[in-house]
């Protein structure tokens, strides 16, 4: 069910894209997800996200501090699942595709510059996306505020497709967002990628 005529689409939208929430995009309820701002059943989003990864030239996962650090057993399990998802993507794509796993270890702006080959910073995520020519990315384990900021900058300045594997209520500013992320949910996405392997591929 669409609640707004606004669509959260890959950019570049413009220098300061509006917050999707301000454009009437609302968050999914438990068991649901959203795609471009439209509320869909979670299974549908699993399928679409899996296809996005399989079609991307540089499918990338950006794990944030909530999974990079072993805060507790739950976080450690999620980190394991993230690694599994990455390995699955690597197994399921063609040799011309280049999957990446790039951490967002810190939220503080880093001077004079970050190294875009090995990290992403929420204050200028576009640098890492441009440098590595990333066309699909997934945020996981990034605190809400930093994810919102970063997703908006990505939509503003790049044409990258953004997916949020959010542990809370989801992100309006991603093009596709899950909610209530758990290790199991991340593993399920890996299953979907395996299932759809070979059905779609990158455009030439």
């Amino acid at each position: 069910m669409a609640t707004s005529s606004y669509k959260v689409l890959p950019g570049p939208e413009h220098f300061l894209p509006p917050a999707a929430a301000a454009m009437g995009i609302r968050l999914p309820n438990p068991g649901e997800a959203h795609i471009h701002g439209e509320i869909v059943p979670e299974e549908k989003a699993m399928e679409v996200a899996a296809k996005q990864f399989l079609m991307a030239k540089v499918p990338t996962i950006f794990p944030g501090p909530l999974v990079l650090w072993a805060w507790n057993e739950k976080a450690a399990q999620k980190a394991k699942a993230v690694r599994h998802l990455f390995e699955t993507i690597k197994e399921c794509v063609t040799p011309s595709q280049r999957p990446m796993l790039i951490p967002m270890p810190d939220y503080r702006p880093k001077y004079p510059k970050i190294n875009p080959e090995i990290e992403i910073n929420p204050n200028h995520p576009n640098l890492t996306i441009w440098h590595n020519k990333i066309d699909t990315c997934m945020f996981v384990g990034v605190h809400c505020h930093q994810a919102n900021l970063s997703l908006k900058i990505i939509r503003g300045g790049t044409s990258c497709y953004t997916i949020a594997m959010c542990a809370q209520a989801g992100h309006e500013d991603a093009m596709l967002s899950f909610r209530d992320a758990t290790a199991e949910k991340i593993l399920k996405l890996a299953e979907w990628i395996k299932k759809l392997k070979g059905t779609v591929g990158p455009s030439q």
């Binding site: 999974v67 990079l68 650090w69 072993a70 450690a76 980190a79 796993l101 951490p103 190294n115």
Partner: protein, 302 residues
């Protein structure tokens, strides 16, 4: 307390940038005798900085970080200025406050930490430039001292607003002409160390950062006194070589010249009676610890 407090998830360890891997493996957290001599042994003590090449603030930063007695339970509060370019590289909790508000933020933080973690030592250390401490933030600086807030205030005194291109500051010398203060300062350098003493600081030091062992001693003393007794203040001369027209290699000599007897950064300290007593106790304990360690070493070698 030690490196045990936080671990990288093993499955994602290999993708973490090297600074974070080094941090969990080799940081000096929990090392009782940590100090300036640890600089260069771990990336945690700022391997790279983002200040001008040779800026004495970068030396000061390293010495201070290496000297904090309790880094994993310390929160630093910074303010806008050249120092704020370094904080993102610092492996100690820190808050970047609105310019001038640092001592107000630190007051609330220190009180909140005492309530949230009763029985655990939590140190708060403010580190800000002279513009933030003495001009725009003077109200907050003084009020925190009047209220006897238990944290340390460190001022990096480069005698002007460096980050914004060289405006006049209260700590600038009389007559000094800066790039954005062409008329020359018309009044004397504000005597903040004396004001700090009169405002209730229990330990006050004014010096340069030319000697790392001295910086270590002063920082440790200031933190210990703030923890137990009340506010402490350190004013370090960290000349802005860019604004005074010096080369990268000349910062150290500039500090040595400025600390000669009768110069404005000749070593000066004020210590309250309560602080004197505490520092004497700590020194006696440290002596005992060192003697015991020596004895143990001799026993091992025998």
């Amino acid at each position: 307390m030690s490196l045990e407090r936080i671990k990288i998830a093993p499955e994602l360890y290999d993708i973490m940038p090297p600074e974070y891997q080094d941090l969990v493996q080799r940081a000096t957290y929990g090392k009782e005798s940590r100090g300036w001599k640890d600089i260069g042994t771990t990336k945690e003590l700022i391997e790279e900085h983002s200040l001008c090449a040779g800026c004495p603030e970068s030396m000061a930063f390293r010495y201070i970080l290496a000297s904090l007695p309790n880094p994993e339970d310390t929160v630093m509060v910074g303010s806008t200025g050249c120092t704020s370019l370094v904080f993102p590289h610092v492996a100690v909790h820190n808050i970047h406050s609105l310019f001038g508000n640092q001592n107000a933020v630190a007051s609330g933080l220190k009180r909140a930490l005492a309530l949230r973690f009763p029985g655990r030592i939590k140190d708060v250390v403010v580190l800000a430039g002279d513009g933030a401490t003495v001009d725009i933030g003077l109200d907050m600086t003084l009020q925190s001292w009047f209220r006897q807030e238990k944290f340390t205030t460190i001022c990096f005194d480069n005698e002007l607003y460096a980050n914004t291109g060289g405006q006049e500051s209260g700590l600038m010398q009389k007559g000094f002409v800066a790039k954005m203060a062409p008329v020359g300062k018309t009044f004397e350098k504000v005597r903040l160390p004396e004001i700090a003493r009169e405002s209730g600081c229990h330990y006050v030091v004014n010096c340069t950062v030319s000697k790392p062992n001295l910086v270590e001693k002063v920082v440790k003393n200031a933190v210990y006194v703030a923890r137990e007794i009340g506010p402490t203040y350190i004013q370090f001369y960290t000349p802005c070589i860019l604004e005074i027209g010096k080369n990268s290699m000349e910062g150290l000599q500039e500090m040595r010249d400025a600390e000669k007897p009768n110069e404005r950064f000749a070593y000066k300290e004020y210590v309250s009676d309560a602080a004197k007593e505490l520092l004497a106790e700590i020194a006696a304990k440290e002596k005992e610890r060192k003697a015991a360690a020596k004895k143990q070493l001799a026993g091992q070698n025998a």
